[in-house]
C-alpha cells in the first residue's frame, strides 16, 4: 500500500472532529475542498460516516420482551 501524502494524513486525523462539528469553519472548508479532489480521503470520510451511522443505528433498541417484563416487575416490587 502506498503511503499517503502528509497533507492527507493531517486531514485524516481531523475527520472525527469534522464529523462531530468540532472543526473550525476554515479547516472544514479546507477539508471539504481536499475531499473533492482526493478519492482516497473522500472514501475514508464516507466510510467513517457509515461506521458512525452503523453504531448509532444499533443504539436505542428496545429491550427483548421478557427482559422488559422482568424490568417492569422489579420496578413494581421496588416502588409498589
Amino acid at each position: 500500500m502506498t503511503r499517503r501524502p502528509a497533507f492527507c494524513r493531517v486531514l485524516l486525523e481531523r475527520l472525527s472532529a469534522y464529523l462531530d462539528g468540532d472543526l473550525p469553519a476554515g479547516q472544514c472548508r479546507s477539508l471539504e475542498a481536499h475531499a473533492r479532489t482526493c478519492p482516497r480521503c473522500a472514501g475514508v470520510l464516507a466510510e467513517l460516516r457509515q461506521t458512525i451511522d452503523l453504531c448509532r443505528s444499533a443504539a436505542g433498541k428496545p429491550l427483548p420482551p421478557a427482559v422488559r417484563k422482568a424490568a417492569k416487575d422489579r420496578i413494581r416490587r421496588l416502588i409498589g
Binding site: C55, A66, R74
Partner: protein, 206 residues
Amino acid sequence: MTKRRNLNLLSDRSARADEYEALVRAAATGDRAAMERLLMRAQEVAFRFSLLVCGHAEDAEDVMQEALLKTYRYVGRIERPEAFRTWLYRTVTNACRMKRRRRVDEPAHLVSIEGGGVDADGRSAGVDVADAGKTPDELALNAWLGRRLRRALAALPPQYRLIVLLREMEGLSTREVAGVTGLTEDNVKTRLHRARVMLRERLGSR
C-alpha cells in the same frame, strides 16, 4: 449540509440529556410516572452495557438490579439533576467492571444487541434472535449488520470499546464521557477517533 446534519445530531443529544434532567427533577418531587421511566431507563442502560461491555448476558440481571436500586436511592437525595446521566453511566460502567473482574477471563465474544442474548424466558441464549414481522431479506441484512458490528466492537481494546459505546451508542456528549471515564475531553476525542478508524477497518475487511 454536513455541518447542519452534525448540529442536528448534537441538538438531539442535548435534548436527551435535558430529558433525563427533567425526569430526575419530576421523580425527586414524587412524580411516580417519571420515577418509573427513570428506573426503566437505568435498567435499559445496564442491560446494554452488560451485553456490550461485559459480554455476558447472564450478568445483565445483577447489573440491572444494581442500577435500579442505586438510581432509586440516588434520586431521593440528588442535588444536581443535570449530573444524573453521568452518574448513571459511571455507576453502570463500574458495576460491569466489577462483574468482569470477578471472572477469570475476558469475554470471548459479545452478544448481539438485537437479540439481547436471552431467550423468551429471559435466560441466556444464542445470538441473532429473529424479529417477526420482517422479510427474510431484511432479517438477513439485520443479522449481517449486527454480526459485523458485534465482531468489530469485540475486536476493539476494552478502553476504546467503552468510549464508542458511551459516545456513539448511548449518545453521551464528550464532556459526559469524560465525566464517566475520568479521561480529559481531549483524550476522549482522541480515543474516539482511533476507535472509529479501527472499527472502519474491521468493518471494511470483514
